[in-house]
Assembly symmetry: C2
Homo-oligomer: 285 residues x 2
């Protein structure tokens, strides 16, 4: 009994969304409202979360406009076969964005999950893709960035793991947020468009065959290269992989990451995974 209540309360705390079970089974009917997960407080609620988003859009826009002036030879999209970058040739300029927590904040379902202390629920998310139009909000700095890129002749493209079955909902959600036109198959690429499943590599290759991609942006490592997307790897190994040469120099320099402490494989690990022994410290009594 005590264990059940402990589990329920830990779920209720809304914190360990990556580690706990849905609440329903264990929740007492008199359960108090859970706390807002600290990641959501910071990202969605705080000045700091808004500023971090605006800062990254500003850095990306400045970088892309400078690149457009001196047209680069290569995209920032890796050609896994050639183990180099896809050449630009005379393709039109584009910047590739993930959508969720990169262009828009999905505060509708995130609030819903947190209030119930439940895990991410794909069935509810599928409804959100279809009915979230007007409820997803443009991230701070995103609308100005889209306008600046388009004014410079750079086309924003979204490559997201939203479902191709819900293409209309996602097109309308991005437009209603004020981000302009993203058209499925042209400037919007979705899971189900090809055989790659949740890997975005094949979609990136398709985009790079049509566009000179001068910058990429996302909140998850899979938004840049699927080989980085190793949720099963220990956090410190995963960190080493994505920050090693030759990729280290790309972060902030062609590849732009948005802070997302709300969900994803970045939110994993126990004390021994996160804190190497050499950093352990204890106060004296």
């Amino acid at each position: 009994m005590r264990t059940a209540i402990l589990l329920a309360a830990i779920a209720l705390s809304g914190c360990a969304t990556a580690q706990t079970q849905p609440l329903a089974s264990a929740a007492p009917q008199t359960a108090p409202t859970p706390a807002v997960p600290m990641g959501q407080q910071w990202l969605y609620g705080s000045a700091e979360g808004a500023i971090a988003s605006q800062q990254t859009f500003g850095a990306l826009t400045g970088y892309a406009l400078a690149k457009a002036r001196a047209r680069p030879a290569d995209s920032v999209i890796i050609d896994e076969a050639a183990s180099g970058f896809v050449p630009c040739a005379d393709k039109p300029l584009a910047v590739v964005f993930d959508a969720d927590e990169t262009l828009i904040w999905n505060i509708g379902p995130m609030r819903w999950f947190a209030m119930r202390g439940t895990e991410f629920d794909p069935k509810i998310w599928d409804q959100w893709e279809q009915t979230g139009v007007g409820k997803a909000v443009a991230m701070p700095g995103s609308i100005a960035a889209m306008a600046a890129l388009r004014a410079a002749g750079i086309t924003p493209i979204a490559n997201t793991n939203r479902s191709s079955a819900n293409a209309k909902g996602s097109e309308q959600t991005l437009a209603a947020a004020g981000l302009g036109d993203f058209k499925h198959g042209e400037t919007l690429f979705l899971m189900g468009d090809d055989a790659g499943g949740s890997s975005k590599d094949m979609r990136r290759a398709t985009i790079a065959s049509r566009w000179c991609v001068i910058a990429m942006a996302g909140d998850q490592l899979g938004d840049f290269r699927n080989a980085f997307n190793t949720p099963e790897a220990p956090p410190l190994a995963r960190k080493a992989l994505a920050t090693a040469a030759p990729y280290a120099n790309l972060w902030g320099n062609g590849w732009f990451l948005f802070a997302n402490p709300v969900y994803g494989p970045s939110i994993r690990g126990g004390f021994d995974d996160i804190f190497p022994p050499e950093t352990h410290w204890e106060p004296q009594p």
Copy 2:
């Protein structure tokens, strides 16, 4: 009894550090190890947290080096009396950094607090300032940024709310992390150096009277202007204050914010504070 266990477990979850009491009173002796708070998993453990830090150091360094080449007329430090910026005159170039979660990650005491599910404890933190030498780690990108700034004739200065009573410990902690020399009273400014208490404004004015400050960096709004540091204000009002004109344009453009979803006034608020009514959404049964 159930309530006590609920409170204990919510504290144990290590999540609601901003909202819960210390665990001691309610913890069962058989308490399981708490979960690592999601903010610590993301910031200290994930590739994404490391990349976000490296990206911000890269943007700051690029900005500062460009400014140094075309020496600016004004510092980026606000002169509250003149309601403008402090002039640079012929003062030497500097960049002002906060220390904690801006130059170094304090994973020693953060792990300690999280494992016990306790709030920030000033007595334990005071020990950390004195004995954390060699345990605080340089944030990703910080060592390269310090080297690049110094090579360009720009002096890094730290303005932190660590105590002036622990000046030696903080000087040694920064040096041991690989960040180079920060000397109390010259390039290291601490709480207790003046009558300003935890407000950094007076210290900023002192620094700006001696240096041409071409960039500022921190993880909390008080690292930029104390008037922004209103932990009592509702999150959305606090956000509006710090992101309004004329400050909006400074973020990423003279003022650089580091993501810190681990602690501070940015981690506050209940559901009604974080999620405006117009964004509420519910799935259909």
